[in-house]
């Protein structure tokens, strides 16, 4: 019985945030809060597979006897999966990631060991694209600032507030025209915005203006949407030069990863009024958000939630079950990462 189950043993690699204390936050490199309902499908998973939890508290009693037979690692959250982590599971054949990004997996080690990897693929792209557009409108038209103004009771007693800036007709620059970026572009086109983009290579069959250099893109747009994956090459791709090129009325939206932007420079430029505004869902040291931003009305702050809708979790759940089924029946996996 155990043997039969053991062929379908998974180990879940769920990163639980550490108990909260200021000290812990300062150590947190990239805290990604997953609401508990994210994991609501685990009981169903357990009816089909043996699920081991190395981080369970109290400890999972099956873990010590079964972990060597685990064939799949199911990963939630940004905790790195290192070569040492892989060493613990000699039967491991497949890492099932649940994020769009896979920058936390040691892919070279996976390749060496012949371990297959899948990501969340396009599951979140639509929601992230929607959210990016929402943040841009919010910053340009000062929606959150207006809501704050009304809730503070200022409307009847205060006769001035800053006018917003028109969305329609803006020149929108997209850094990374992939699954998210191309959806962002489509949405902004309907607002009568013109689209330009930067990516490693110019895309065939795409009519938007292409800039090989992010700074050149920034010089030619009003709104810059950061949609590219975080890699060694894209780390701080939005540096001071790029932001200065964007200019005093330019707006930046980041819905991808905090370290894509030089956050210290961004904060200084915003405080000095040298860029026009920012809509930020991600930060360098989440959940820490630079405090000077709290005082700015041209900034919209969001707790890394662009992917968070009930619908996207339902789609993720479907992807997980479908990929597990495929893996254990030797069918092709969806959203498999090319390791060669």
């Amino acid at each position: 019985m155990i043997l039969a189950l053991a062929t379908k043993t998974l180990v879940s690699h769920i990163w639980r945030p550490p108990p909260i204390s200021t000290k812990d936050h300062n150590r947190c490199h990239c805290f990604h809060r997953f609401p508990s309902f994210n994991l609501s499908f685990l009981p169903v998973l357990r009816t089909k597979y043996t699920v081991l939890d190395p981080f369970a508290d109290p400890p999972d009693p099956s873990f010590p006897t079964l972990f060597k037979s685990a064939r799949v690692m199911l990963c939630f959250g940004p905790k790195p999966v290192t070569s040492e982590d892989l060493d613990r599971y000699p039967s491991l054949e497949y890492i099932l990631g649940t994020s769009a990004g896979i920058n936390n997996f040691d892919l070279a080690a996976c390749r060496r060991r012949g371990i297959r990897v899948t990501s969340a693929g396009d599951v979140y792209s639509v929601d992230v694209a929607d959210y990016a557009v929402g943040l841009a409108i919010d910053v340009l038209r000062r929606v959150s600032a207006a809501d704050r103004f009304v809730r503070a009771g200022s409307w009847p007693v205060q006769n001035e507030y800053t006018l917003g800036s028109k969305v329609s007709g803006k020149r929108v620059g997209i850094v990374g025209l992939g699954s998210i970026g191309s959806r962002v572009a489509k949405r902004f086109e309907a607002f009568g915005c013109s689209i330009a983009y930067n990516s490693r290579k110019q895309k065939p069959h795409v009519s938007y203006a292409y800039y090989a250099n992010v700074k050149d893109l920034a010089s030619n747009v009003d709104v810059l949407i950061v949609c590219c994956a975080l890699t060694n090459e894209t780390h701080r791709i939005i540096n001071k030069d790029v932001m200065t090129a964007l200019g005093k009325t330019g707006v930046i939206v980041n819905i991808e990863r905090g370290p894509l932007i030089d956050e210290k420079e961004l904060v200084e430029l915003l405080v000095r009024g040298e860029i026009g505004g920012a809509g930020l869902d991600v930060f360098e040291n989440e959940p820490q958000v630079p405090e000077p931003l709290f005082r700015l009305d041209n900034v919209v702050l969001s707790p890394h939630k662009a992917v968070l809708t009930l619908d996207s979790f339902a789609a993720l759940e479907e992807l997980i079950f479908s990929n597990l089924e495929a893996f254990f029946s030797n069918q092709p996996l969806r959203a498999e990462v090319e390791l060669d």
Copy 2:
């Protein structure tokens, strides 16, 4: 000299909000705050025309001698222009309105006296449509609520917040498929939303599903965007029945006029969780906003500013100058209201 100027005399009908006191607000039927820069083009206007201000403080010294020769009334704000107001200006031939709506003018009296009327036409439509979509995304995805969560310092210490609802794929219902409504529709289509609408008559050449009845429309959509003009027929068109038909997950956005919705019912349904959320730029008794709304995270509140961008004021200014020029040179007027 005076005679020559008198042929180009305008009277400006600018409604200045009364000095602020609680008592005043309660008397205010429809307070519409105009920022002072709205009127920044008046000095330029005065270089071309004699502009009289009946409400100036201190009083306009030219007014008593010139008001009988005023041929144009330039109107800002929601102050009604009654038959009695028209009686004061025997030379009046033209009312130049600066709002999209003309519900504050006594149009029957204008028709009787042969006074022509123009509105702001489409000048604000794009900005209002952009804002309506922004409010809808904000409510569905909880953007302002997220911003409030981060600014309150809750991210590092609080482990839960409500998930948003997906924008893409929503069924969007538009009440009033005119200049604003059709632009709202176009934008939501790019998000992968389906569109349905209600208006007095089905529009030819429009493929969206048509509902002759607002309640039927509400029963068949997830998001209801109120874009119709306020008239006797549309007063409280969004009543309790309509909102109940929209249901517990339904979202209402109003960027048109407060009295289109039964506000008391709306507040009660929101407080009881019987509709899903609301994005409100307009209210029944502006600038008063029902206080129970301040405690809700599924509501976005905005101080009647959907039209307020620097760009829309520039377009309005252009329309005013162009229509005055046309009027005094007997050319056709733009955005003229049919009075027959």
